[in-house]
Symmetry: C2
């Protein structure tokens, strides 16, 4: 084992407590031969056998059949995982950043070494969505994946929606409860979700997708007022990872952004720090996988299921599903990416203004699904416009056009609409 | 392929339409070598190649690497599946009745033949809960499984709850829409759910559980009035398959019955003919798998994922997860099965009656969580009592005691309470 933090120490505990069960399932006794940590003298959970601690990670990798990488981040994890795979050791990792940035290199090393790479714990903790996409949907074609894959931001948005907290108040509460880091940017700016989106899209569409292919909008600009308005119109706002096949353009789009979802959508009911991934498949229809997306024990559960599978293959033969990239679909740009938006603008409350706004939509080829106007006392009307499906590029041009129109005082918000 | 009904004809269609995708994923071209049917001259979907039809099922089994059994029922499916497995052919089946009645014999034949047995399609259609329990939770210990595993009854109960239909009206609507058979008893009496409960419990607890181990109560006695009362108290009524580990008694309980669930429980939101299975695991916590539990294309998706896995193992080596029965836990009787109930009784509206009722609970060692009394004009009070967790046997004795108490006019209903 490489690393012994929150998840790693739970893996050590469960390997010991459930040794007999795990042996019965894997067909062999699982022996923990070493735990590589930076500081062998540091404080550890009481059940961590200190005699197994070492600071020689490379030496440990060289003598293990299965390497469980829970270091996180790119280096030294990348070098150690590559070393393990090239030497034929199975790697079980929960390292989404490494997979999303260097997936092809890892899979290439696995192929060269004849080794297996498992990463259920890298996406949505205990939620078995990697198994789901790699194996359960191997006989189907995926049209779209929509996921709540970051529990911290889901907790924050849920607190804003349910208890009316501001963004800053909700972040502070998440920090207090241990859901958010002191620097919450990896979560709230969507980078953690983007790494998971790249992994999910790679699996769903049999195509290599890197984190660099994933445009990201985080949740810093979501206001309590927007959340309340969403509720009034029967919606919720969730931070979604969205990957979608565009059959006409023969490509895929992958995005992370806050989105309005109808309150009746299965993802709308995902509360607190839970994760869930909806897969829309051609034959299966809509599937959802739901569970705890983080935390020591839930993530350790995913790690151990991979370890049991890895050990079972060492005993009985066989391999993990290999990287599947045969489809090689291009990742589409904004001109080919389908999208819908809700735009809120403030504009002069005078005749002809609405016609001008509608004209900007029409000039950009975007049709309008609904318009709601809210008058105020100060001569400024607030209008909420939901579009039909168009392209991301056309929607961006529309917003640019609105911003240039003199009678539009302000573009208050632009929010994606999903799930219908 | 054995059988070519609703699911089988979709499997044939998808094998043709997605041949290239399936080949890329399995590592070999999948060739449909024959389709055994009773009547080779009968009407078929236009895409079914008539030259592959045969009425010699045993002959077909003898020349196939993978046998897809979609005949259903016990015979001739049992004989053909045993023949296939003993000769070393992989079997992919959606036959829950066969598995729940003869699972040990099938797994035994697979072990003797060195063959693999796949059955994702046998439980909850497209919902990958067999994968989930066989593989994703291999590193965890399951405490309980609660499932809505019969779409027909969920549709009927949902119509009763949402649109106020009576049981008979809802059954008629389900028949009209093709969700229920002309004779709906296999669904409404819970036998279909019981077969799935046996399979889920076997997987979850690494123990052989047969359909004969599963006491069943169907939904015929659920009334529209009960549904409305459940809604008033913030609950729904669902037909649940429940399998639970009792650590103290070192055994498991498996049951199918209608149950009151809090409206906030994830299973409460499962509408229409959808299926969902909640797994409560020691480390992972609560997981849910949700999707379409029946229908040609969704079930075919599950069959094809198994076929791809089977073909992949033929090409690359390895095996399906073997039957795991090492835990050998006993299936507990009512004296050791934990349960909670809601009991509704009509009783004389006079002093001392409630004390007598409470006394009957106390005498049987059952503690009461809540009592609600509703007075009526005719001197008969209606009382709703929800118990704390007790044993099934003690709850049965309590109901028997209530029925014998002269001041109790009627035991109106007894409903299990789950999910808290």
């Amino acid at each position: 084992m490489l690393g012994c933090g929150t998840v790693g120490s739970q893996v050590v505990r469960l390997l010991g407590e459930h040794a007999a069960d795990l042996q019965a399932r894997a067909g062999a006794r699982l022996e923990l031969v070493g735990i590589a940590v930076r500081d062998t003298a540091g404080e550890r959970a009481p059940w961590v056998p200190r005699e197994l601690l070492t600071d020689d990670a490379a030496g440990l990798v060289a003598r293990a059949d299965v390497v469980v990488e829970l270091v996180g981040g790119i280096e030294p994890a990348r070098t150690l995982v590559l070393q393990a795979l090239e030497s034929g050791a199975t790697v079980v990792t929960g390292n989404k950043a490494l997979l999303a940035a260097h997936g092809p290199a890892l899979h290439g090393a696995a192929a060269r070494g004849g080794a297996d790479l498992y990463y259920e714990a890298a996406v949505a903790g205990a939620v078995p969505v990697v198994y789901g996409l790699r194996e359960s949907l191997a006989g189907d074609n995926v049209n779209a994946v929509l996921g709540i894959v970051n529990g911290t931001t889901n907790f924050i948005l849920d607190e804003m929606a349910t208890n009316g907290l501001s963004f800053d108040q909700a972040v502070a509460l998440a920090q207090e409860l241990g859901y958010a880091e002191a620097d919450p940017s990896a979560d709230v700016d969507g980078h953690d979700a983007a790494a998971k989106a790249a992994i999910l899209a790679s699996l769903a569409f049999h195509t290599r997708v890197s984190i660099d292919d994933v445009p990201v909008t985080g949740i810093r600009d979501v206001t309590a007022e927007q959340m309340a308005q969403a509720a009034e119109s029967g919606h919720v706002i969730k931070l979604l990872a969205v990957a979608r096949l565009n059959r006409d353009a023969r490509g895929i789009s992958v995005r992370v952004h806050p989105a309005l979802l109808p309150a009746t959508h299965p993802l709308a009911a995902v509360r607190g720090a839970f994760n869930a991934v909806v897969v829309e498949a051609e034959s299966a229809g809509r599937l959802m996988f739901y569970g705890q997306g983080a935390g020591g024990a839930p993530t350790a559960s995913a790690v151990l299921s991979d370890v049991v599978a890895a050990a079972g293959h060492k005993v009985h033969g066989g391999h993990a599903p290999r990287e599947s990239t045969y489809a090689q679909l291009p990742v589409l740009g904004p001109e080919s990416t389908a999208a819908r938006t809700q735009v809120q603008i403030g504009l002069a409350d005078e005749p002809g203004t609405l016609a001008a706004v509608a004209g900007i939509y029409g000039d950009n080829g975007v049709s309008i699904e609904s318009v709601h106007q809210q008058r105020s006392d100060d001569g400024v009307a607030r209008i909420t416009i939901i579009s039909h499906v168009s392209t991301e590029a056309a929607l961006e041009r529309t917003v640019a056009g609105l911003a240039e129109e003199p009678r539009v005082h302000e573009v208050i918000s632009v929010t994606r609409v999903e799930g219908e």
